[in-house]
Amino acid sequence: MKSLSSALARPLRDRRSLWTLVAIAGSVATGLALVALTSGSIWDALGAFGDGTFGSAYAFGSSINRAVVFALVGLGYILANRANLVNVGGEGQIAVGGMFATAAALNHGISGLPAGLAMLVPLLSGTLAGGVWGAVAGWFKVKRGTNEVISTLLLTFIGLLLVYGAVQSEALLRQPMTSSATLPESLEIPDATKLPLLFAASGSPMHLGAPLTLAALVLGWIVLARSKFGFQLKAVGYNPVAARRAGIDDGKVVILSMAIAGALGGLAGAMMIQGEQYSLKSGFSSGFGFDGLVVGLLARGSPLGVLLGALCFGFLRSGGIAMEITARVPAAVVLIIEGLLVVTIAAASQLAAHKEGAS
């Protein structure tokens, strides 16, 4: 499996990497042309993109915070995909994770715990909720033969709507209504439950999630490449019948791998609330799960690929927002670039495979 990393490191040696580079260059060139067409000056727009990504501690930190979410969802995707499972439910797993983390953080018993625990318990609640959301899809697959693409997609919409409902009702998570202008969102979570910022003095919003995610990626790599569970995932993915004959409980592996993928999504959701947003709003996860899914899909099974893809998309999104605010380039241009990247990279990897097969 070639990862994005090798694609960047050895561009000319294999065709797939070459095609991928062509895809990236074409998408970016199209994007630049659109920027030139829609904004007064392409240099202003590029300057804004630079300012919005590496220009300040704030911009860099918020790009990394986005990348954290994409990386966790992407890592979950490739872990489950090793067992030939396709988890498209990252968006919903983030949503329930964020919701349960908020509920835990707003509970006085929990926020009153000693400092570390007050932060840890909501984080684990979100992780657990996401894990259950993923495990349900795995369980349906094992017990009822339900295709996990379909169940995780449906569970995503259900998860998003549960968040919507939770912040509409005061009986659930909505802040007390003091006037008709009270927004449908939760109260801000107490300080004790917030994730510590790493470089607060410089104004960077980068939180503890960044090193935790790096650790998760390293752990994920070890599990996939070195552990017995990693081997079982591969065996079940390759041939579940043979795996069962070899004494592997394939049903357990399916449920467990979906649970882990979901838990990583739930953790990402908890981090979004506890690290940056501090209150639950409907649609808080909008697009994050699908971007994370794309990162996972493009990583070709490699945790290093997940890391690089997550960083690319994190900076792309942040730079795009900055271009809209300061250079008045419509954010839609970034959507177009991202859409083109996804479609052309997916096509490039297959086109290359065809040509290699033909030659």
């Binding site: 899909l297 241009v333 996804v342």
Partner: protein, 306 residues
């Protein structure tokens, strides 16, 4: 009073179900042939925008409709090439197209319509069917809709018959269930899959144009707002069968209509429950809690000989 509310409810349920009926009928055929188009949402949005744009610039809703369908067909053609000929991952390509369509229509909308954004565009008026439209309450409920509603119901019926009664239908289902056997029997797999995806694209384009031209008479950013995913959900809940899928669309349309109508009648129901209904029902259906259903065996799997 009750009869009036009921007639209004039936009428708006049908109207709100129609975009789903168009799109899910097309997607059903494509999925039966083994190709999953998550890009349905993007195709609908494309149809909605280009339909509005065409109607606005030609001042003729019918030409607008054709332009909308044509635009969606172009998206479908690229989707078909990537799914069938290139063999790219259908999930990735579909999600990519949805992002692309959202970006492209939003950008074009701002560039083309600009300040005109709130203006109404020429759309399809309601058609008061002679005689039937005057029936006591059935008339208001069923026979005072835009002509597009009857077009959609007609296309559904034709598709249903074609799928169940013709050699084409048999070939489509064979390609989706047992592509290898179908290939050996001489069925042109690529041609059928291309045709099925293009049909899905055309129908999604109609469904999208229905939203902008048949219902609201304007375009807004991300106007279809998940209708494409809901149409896919209807296909799942409908167990990949035309009749059941149509009923699923009607049910989803009714749930949406209730969201607007119940508050009007002074009934308070948590809207979340109504919004959740389609997805929960579809989930129950796929896990076999309400009758066992299984997707076509070769769904989303590219076919390659050898």
């Amino acid at each position: 009073m009750i009869a009036e509310h009921l007639a209004l409810f039936v009428a708006s349920s049908l109207r709100l179900a129609m975009p789903l009926v168009f799109a899910s009928t097309g997607e059903l055929v494509s999925e039966r042939a083994g190709v999953l188009n998550l890009s349905l949402e993007g195709m609908m949005l494309t149809g909605a925008f280009f339909g509005a744009w065409g109607s606005w610039s030609t001042n003729d809703p019918l030409l607008g409709l054709l332009i909308g369908v044509l635009a969606a067909l172009i998206v479908a053609l690229v989707q078909a090439w990537l799914s069938v000929s290139v063999g790219a991952n259908q999930l990735v390509v579909g999600i990519g197209f949805n992002i692309l369509a959202l970006g492209a229509t939003t950008l074009l909308y701002r560039e083309v319509f600009g300040a005109l954004s709130r203006d109404a565009i020429p759309g399809f008026g309601k058609w008061h069917v002679p005689v039937l439209g005057d029936l006591p309450w059935m008339g208001t409920a069923l026979f005072q809709q835009t002509g597009l509603v009857y077009l959609g119901l007609g296309l559904l019926l034709v598709t249903w018959l074609a799928l169940d009664q013709t050699a084409w239908g048999l070939a489509i289902k064979a390609v989706g269930e047992e592509p290898r056997a179908a290939d050996q029997a001489g069925v042109a797999i690529r041609r059928i899959r291309y045709g099925a995806v293009l049909f899905a694209g055309g129908m999604a384009g109609l469904g999208g144009a229905f939203v902008s031209l048949g219902d609201i008479h304007t375009f807004t950013e991300n106007m279809t707002n998940g209708a494409g995913y809901l149409a896919i959900t209807a296909v799942i809940f409908g167990a990949w069968r035309p009749g059941k899928t149509f009923l699923a669309c009607l049910l989803f349309g009714a749930a949406t209509a209730l969201q607007f109508q119940l508050p009007d009648m002074g009934v308070t129901v948590p809207t979340t429950l109504l919004l959740l209904l389609p997805y929960v029902l579809a989930l129950l259906a796929v896990v076999g809690a309400v009758g066992r259903t299984a997707p076509p065996a070769a769904l989303a799997l590219p076919y390659r000989r050898g």
